[in-house]
């Protein structure tokens, strides 16, 4: 059946003869495994093109959507993780293959007459493929890709004269923003691949012409080489699939944040250049880190012109190749130095650990969906960021804040029944008021320091804790299951005995101390929000809470430096995490 269809088609288009001609084309010098590196490179590019087009069906190149769409492809879209993983690791494989192919070509002297143009096109191709990899790493718009590109475009900006102009053209303005990402995308999916295909085709044609001009007696049909190419290509693909499975897709750092302190590092294949930068300071930097590598590339390009004696014996060519070998050894050494430096650098480890926490948090939070304004607006991320910036220098909550330096209440469990029991029993414990200016202001209600007598029994204390915990409940939350008589008992005690100092619904504090907080809705979102905005009001910690006790060490008001939207977000985040961390 298939044969008949083939016959029918062959009469009309003549494909059999064409395929046979292609496969039987004589390859001077014969097939080799080393030449299969170049062949495998073409197939790896095909893998990248196919997976790349698949990724385009689910990727959105805007700063607001890019990270979220990549997260979606990696974690939610069935099959997406494998497509992205293979694309990611195939791009690494491509860089390795480019290096191996170049090294082999130079080692065997395959740049010699008549292969000069073939060799030069290969160098251009290597440049284009590296540019493809670099632009591709920008597309997830994560911290790693964003900062690496930002630094790289800054390096372009160092070029004398037109550097700044080119930098802004690439970035799409003074900052890397929406246009910059769109430009990276256009380069990555259209401009660079189109040029790569043209160069692959040109090189293939030239290679055929050279092969048929060689010693045809010592030749193999192209099919034999093609088989080897395919074996190597398949091996590469298997490695990519295994790596993609192990990583479940490709890595995705936290979403790009232009005002974060991220320790930028380039992709692995640029680490040697990264390290080189540290040797050149000031005006010499541009020459040392941009011009020097380009001079080396020029030297490699000039090899066919410098090394023109016939014969490819390494011994004869050694003086010509020495600079290339030295540069390769130098690059390897720089790479090792860069990795070792980071491994032994405590500041880097700290910054990286922070970035990893952010990465894990963002990746986890994004499962709940990402707002259209972008992943940085995910409440989980923004709330933590705000807490870290504005609260953690005094408070401790979970892994945020330093318990040794804390000068305010530890917020783990704040507002829960268990926390209130502990607080009412021992207000001056170090995690409560012990390190704050409120120390010795509030007595323990069931076991005060003698000679004072307990205000309540342990059972009554528990009733008060239950009643106060319930003050923080939100109407949208599941109703608290509690003993009604215990709640009533708690309410009575709070109204009758706590209001000597505290306010309850605006009443109390007969002595006018003005320090003990309002207890209605204590621990609710509204109360927390009001407290953050300004602790010195009648509905929060009261007017004298931040003043009379000396302004230092007191909770400041934040409504003068934080937007109301941020205060709301921070209040919700803090309350939620305080309650959640008590359960752990």
């Amino acid at each position: 059946m298939m044969a008949k269809l083939g016959d029918w088609l062959d009469v009309r288009i003549g494909h059999r003869a064409a395929i046979a001609r292609w496969l039987d084309h004589p390859l001077a010098g014969g097939a080799s495994w080393a030449s299969a590196i170049g062949g495998a490179l073409v197939f790896t590019f095909v893998v990248l093109a196919l997976t790349g087009v698949l990724l385009m069906t689910s990727y959105a190149p805007t700063p607001q959507a890019a990270w979220a769409s990549v997260h979606y492809v990696t974690h939610s879209l069935p099959g997406g993780w494998l497509v992205r993983g293979v694309h990611h690791f195939a791009s690494d494989a491509m860089v390795v293959l480019v290096g191996a192919h170049l090294a082999h070509t130079i080692a065997v002297g395959a740049y010699k007459k008549p292969r000069e143009v073939w060799f030069w096109l290969g160098l251009a191709l290597a440049g284009l493929l590296l540019a493809s990899a670099i632009t591709g790493h920008a597309l997830p718009w994560d911290q790693k890709g964003y900062w690496a590109r930002r630094v790289e475009s800054g390096i372009i900006g160092m070029a004398p004269g037109i550097g700044g102009f080119i930098q802004q053209m690439i970035q799409g303005g003074p900052d890397f923003g929406a246009l910059g990402l769109a430009r990276m995308h256009a380069a990555h999916v259209a401009i660079l691949p189109a040029l790569v295909v043209v160069l692959f085709w040109l090189r293939g044609s030239i290679a055929r012409k050279i092969a048929s001009a060689g010693d045809v007696k010592a030749s193999d049909p192209y099919a034999k080489q093609l088989a080897r190419d395919l074996v190597v290509a398949l091996l590469v693909l298997v490695v990519c699939v295994v790596l993609a499975r192990r990583a479940h897709g490709g890595p995705l750092d936290a979403p790009a944040d232009s005002s974060s302190d991220y320790p930028a590092r380039p992709e692995w294949f640029l680490m040697s250049l990264f390290r080189l930068r540290k040797f050149f300071h000031g005006a010499g930097e541009f020459w040392g880190t941009a011009v020097l590598p380009q001079l080396l590339a020029l030297y490699v390009a000039a090899l066919p012109l410098l090394d023109r004696k016939p014969g490819v014996r390494l011994g004869v060519r050694a003086p010509m190749l020495a600079p290339v070998v030295l540069a390769a050894i130098g690059a390897a050494a720089l790479h090792v130095m860069a990795v070792q430096h980071d491994a032994g650098d405590a500041d880097y480890a700290k910054a990286r650990a922070k970035a990893d926490t952010q990465t894990e948090l963002a990746n986890r939070a994004a499962f709940a969906g990402v707002p259209p304004t972008g992943p940085l607006d995910m409440p989980e991320l923004r709330g933590r960021q705000l807490f870290e910036k504005s609260c953690a220098s005094c408070h401790v909550l979970g892994d945020l804040g330093d318990p040794k330096k804390a000068t305010a209440t530890r917020l783990d469990g704040w507002g829960t029944e268990a926390w209130l029991v502990a607080m009412l029993h021992d207000p001056d414990a170090p995690e409560h008021f012990g390190k704050t200016p409120y120390k010795e202001i509030m007595p323990s209600i069931d076991a005060p320091a003698p000679p004072a007598k307990p205000m309540v029994t342990r059972a009554e204390l528990e009733a008060v804790a239950l009643f106060l915990a319930a003050q923080g409940d939100e109407p949208t939350e599941p109703a608290r299951v509690a003993d009604a008589t215990k709640v009533v008992l708690g309410a009575t005690i709070v109204r009758e005995r706590c209001t000597t100092c505290h306010l309850y619904d605006g009443k109390g504090d007969d002595e006018g101390s003005g320090t003990a907080p309002e207890l209605v809705h204590y621990g609710s979102i509204a109360w927390t929000r009001a407290q953050i905005a300004n602790p010195a009001t009648a509905t929060t910690y009261r007017d004298k809470a931040a003043g009379e006790l000396g302004s230092k060490g007191h909770m400041p008001r934040f409504d003068l430096e934080m937007s109301s939207a941020d205060i709301e977000l921070l209040a919700r985040w803090t309350r939620e995490h305080a309650r959640a961390s008590a359960k752990k």
Binding site: Q64, G157, G164, Q167, M169, A264, T373
Partner: protein
């Protein structure tokens, strides 16, 4: 006869080349314009005072990093109250010193701690208390910004400068 033919061919060829060039130009001219447009924005140099922090939240001589917040335009988007960048504020008596937290080398965010002082986490440039470059590849010291105190609030005249060059050139 032959001349006539060559003449006609020559005219046709010239016509083809001309119209081809015109067609290419019709695409290339707006294309180039479009691509270079983002690079042509010049800095206005006008003052841009942004509120940074309360004066009494600063401790004498202790640098504090604060975000610069304002509406930010990025091509077709406008983001309200976005963090444009960060600055380091240092109280010196009644005045406040301010340094941009963007590394003048390649734009990473400058950190500070008691042991290292001001430092860049990317290429290890180090800066003195007065912002001068001490170590590392940075071509200049930290960019100093003007400050003023208005009703107890510190305001910063926020600008950004090109990186990687010894001169201070403001970005548009």
């Amino acid at each position: 006869m032959g001349d006539e033919k060559t003449g006609r061919r020559g005219t046709l060829r010239a016509l083809a080349v001309l119209s081809g060039a015109a067609a290419c130009g019709a695409i290339a001219a707006p294309g180039v314009k479009m691509l270079v447009a983002p690079a042509s924005g010049a800095a206005s140099g006008a003052a841009r005072w942004l509120r940074a922090a309360r004066f009494d939240s600063l401790e004498e001589g202790v640098p504090k990093r604060v975000a610069m917040i304002a509406d930010a335009r990025d091509a077709w988007t406008i983001e309200r109250q976005k963090e444009l960048g960060a600055v380091w504020l240092v109280r010196r008596g009644a005045a406040v010193e301010c340094f941009s937290a963007t590394c003048p080398h390649l734009g990473c965010t400058i950190g500070h701690d008691a042991t290292s002082g001001f430092f860049c986490p990317c290429h290890d440039s180090g800066f003195a208390k007065d912002g001068a470059r001490v170590t590392g590849p940075s071509p200049r010291g930290l960019d100093r910004l003007q400050t003023r105190v208005v009703d107890g609030a510190v305001e910063v005249d926020f600008h950004r400068y090109r990186q990687g060059i010894p001169e201070r050139v403001e970005l548009g």
